[in-house]
Symmetry: C2
Subunit: 226 residues, 2 copies
DNA sequence: ACCTGAACACCGTTCAAGT
DNA sequence: ACCTGAACACCGTTCAAGT
């Protein structure tokens, strides 16, 4: 799908060029399509050429993931802001960075602590959770939940297909053949289960669910802060 | 890792045998190790033999996922129970079914509506969300969040490694080399970030976060039910 | 009905060369 | 320093046979 050699044949290779082409490839044809050989092809180079810049595929994936975290436009820290609104803004910024790249978003899950941009994001999240009154242990755990949930949100990726898309119609049709007596709620929700009408609302509500959950937990057994 | 031919050499093949061996293989060596060729090897059979029972690998994966959903021990429906406690019980049961199989848990995300056991679980979840006062549309969306979050919980899989495991020690050490001025919260939480001390608590709090979030959302703009 | 064998177009990666 | 070429041990899958 990505036109061969879009990085320009004369371009010096270098890690950034490779990473960007890898991202484009994965965005276009999925993570499975991101292979060393196809990537090399599109860069107009031999597969082995990539092994000069990355010792193996995993290291390339690491670099790609770091690139992803680097895209997050961290909101400014406003003194006196509530922890929950600040945390919501942070997660929204994270979602915004991942949304263009649903195919590679899952990579972020296991690699936050593996690169500087990821660490910066994690540090900010942890700080806000601590502000909410959670212990270091709880914050670590909750931070993991948050990261995972946001990635899941983006990976599910409601958009990408119109309401009359082939796959969407097939799924809706399949659900509508179910027995309304046995699966009343699924049949009733066949439409929203097969297609998301409003992406922005989908993401907003997803983040809201998490913030609301944290607020609930924070209000419980946690000691109030000064 | 899995001993070759553990399904017995004389056993008739059949879909169930294949699925169970596939699950064992993925549990032992991860989803990547689950290949048609290795699976056939362990079943003492030619790769092509599997193509008689499944038209391709994806169909095998579908069957495996259905098997996973079938393991969920659905809690009894108690009339008069609160929606939130019922929903928590349901999610806990789901977690319990997935916990032994963290490597294949991600498969559940895209395949709930593709098999009968999955549909049953989804129907129950949707019903409880409707009870909470959410619309069909909202319930569909929230049901998706729930499913994804639970899968993420299991996939992160805190257990599996002791506190002095090689990988755990390496990660902790890496975090401890960070600047405490730049990453105070990460350094403080280096221990819980690299190792989860209590798995059961981890899962319980994860589910609780979600239920708490739903309770928060339900208590807001939603119409109260009779 | 159920399984085998050979073949095809793919993978990631190593190792020895080239310039 | 940066890239190529041939080779190795893997993939999923098709197609024609075997029993």
């Amino acid at each position: 799908m990505t036109s061969g050699g879009s990085a320009g044949r004369g371009t010096r290779l270098g890690r950034e060029v490779v990473v960007e082409q890898a991202l484009a490839l994965a965005d276009a044809d999925g993570l499975d399509a991101l292979t060393i050989r196809r990537l090399a092809d599109e860069l107009g180079v031999t597969p082995m050429a990539l092994y000069w810049h990355f010792s193996n595929k995993d290291e390339l994936i690491d670099a790609l993931t770091e690139h992803l975290f680097a895209q997050v436009a961290l909101p400014e820290v406003r003194a006196g802001a509530d922890w929950d609104t600040a945390l919501r803004e942070l997660q929204v910024a994270f979602v915004a960075a991942l949304r263009p790249h649903p195919a590679v978003a899952p990579l972020a899950r296991d690699r936050v602590l593996a690169s500087r941009p990821g660490l910066v994001l994690a540090e900010r999240s942890l700080g806000l959770l601590r502000e909410a009154g959670f212990t270091a242990e709880q914050s670590a755990e909750l931070g993991g939940y948050l990261l995972g949930a946001v990635v899941t949100l983006v990976t599910a990726e409601p958009g990408r297909a119109g309401p009359d898309d082939e796959a969407v119609r097939a799924r809706r049709a399949a659900l509508l053949t179910l027995s309304p007596r046995e699966f009343p709620n699924i049949v009733e929700a066949a439409e929203p289960l097969s297609y998301c009408a409003n992406d922005d609302a989908y993401y907003a509500r997803g983040v809201e669910l998490l913030i609301e959950g944290l607020r609930g937990l924070a209000g419980r057994g946690q000691p109030e802060r000064a």
